[in-house]
């Protein structure tokens, strides 16, 4: 009985210390190395100039991949803009409750062109996952689009 009681106490202590750690800043993936931050708006304004470059960005986490935590969206320094920070599945997993927290994140900018069909498929998937208020409107996508994301290497979330 004493053994069971001691085990329960030890388990409770582990859970409590884990909860306490959650309230602090948490690092994901590789350590951050860059000294200067790049405004997200600068990347989105001229994405091709940033393609292949490693950047450090900062902003509010406004979306998290619900299924696997394999990407987050970080709000830009300008309104109505955000950028997707994609990480390798299983290597980094962002918790869903990171939404609304601040992220300092590093990775390589990747710019690609999506066909109209690819753009619709991607938007439909995002829409389904987010479960937004508005109905999905595929007619908004009439031509190919430039997709910009950061291939994430490491991040600090607080």
């Amino acid at each position: 009985m004493t053994l069971i009681r001691s085990s329960a106490l030890a388990l409770a202590l582990v859970v409590l210390s884990a909860s306490a750690a959650q309230s602090q800043a948490k690092d994901y993936g590789k350590p951050l190395t860059l000294k200067a931050k790049t405004p997200i708006s600068a990347i989105l304004q001229n994405p091709h100039a940033w393609h292949g470059k490693k950047v450090q960005v900062e902003g509010t986490i406004v979306e998290v991949c619900e299924e696997r935590g394999c990407w987050i969206k970080i709000a830009s320094d300008k309104p109505f803009e955000s950028i997707r920070f994609k990480v390798e599945d299983g290597v980094i997993t962002f918790p869903l409750d990171a939404k609304g927290k601040q992220a300092l994140a590093e990775g390589v900018v990747q710019v690609s062109t999506l066909t109209k069909e690819q753009a619709i498929a991607q938007a439909r998937e995002m829409h389904k996952e987010r479960g937004t208020l508005a109905k999905f409107d595929s007619t908004k996508y009439t031509k190919s689009i430039t997709d910009v994301q950061i291939m994430g290497e490491g991040a600090r979330v607080k």
Binding site: V15, E66, E67, R68, P79, F80, P95, D97, G131, L133
Partner: protein, 191 residues
């Protein structure tokens, strides 16, 4: 238990049984946790094994303010939220999102429609999944390696627990071969 030791030899079966028994006790907790978590994450396409996400809908009066902080304040007031959000975001001119701990309010400004998205960790299962998928990294990697080694020893020593008709040279051999079938199926058909 019969003594399998040849004169002057090592009682290997006795050691094997003792290892199997004690490692079995030590690995029981993690095996149960990993098994439950394994089933949970195996079906990740059908459900979220870590969080319970609920989306409910409500409505407030349309918000006509345009200045960013006024939009947030108006939404907060209309939703009767005592505290300001920890952060907010405007994904487009017609929407504001208010982020609270565990809850996000998506407000459609022209219509006043609101989606309330509540996120709650699944107790115990969340922690099990974190360990199983080694999200903790660092020291847990070593613990998980030690556990994997323990499972390896359990499997090997388990083969030699019994002797004779029920052992690995008898009935046990058929069950061992049956256990190899999924691996063979993978190698032949799915690889």
């Amino acid at each position: 238990m019969p003594d399998d030791r040849k004169p002057g030899g090592v009682p290997w079966r006795r050691w094997s049984i003792a290892l199997h028994r004690d490692i079995g006790y030590a690995a029981a907790a993690l095996t149960i946790a990993y098994a439950i978590s394994g089933i949970a994450v195996n079906h990740i396409a059908d459900w979220n094994p870590n969080y319970r996400v609920t989306k409910t809908f409500t409505a407030i009066a349309p918000i006509t303010a345009t200045e960013p902080s006024a939009v947030v304040a108006a939404a907060q007031e209309a939703l009767h939220l005592a505290e300001p959000p920890r952060s907010s975001f405007r994904p487009d001119p017609g929407t504001v999102q208010l982020f609270y701990k565990g809850t996000t309010y998506h407000v459609d400004l022209p219509t006043g429609k609101v989606m309330v998205e509540a996120t709650q960790r699944r107790p115990v299962l969340f922690e099990m999944n974190q360990l199983h998928l080694n999200h903790a990294k660092r020291a847990w990697t070593w613990i998980a390696d030690a556990y994997a080694l323990a499972l390896l020893l359990l499997a090997v020593t388990g083969l030699f627990v019994l002797k004779g008709r029920l052992g690995i040279t008898g009935r046990g051999a058929w069950f061992t071969v049956a256990g190899l079938l999924p691996v063979a199926y993978w190698l032949v058909f799915l690889r």
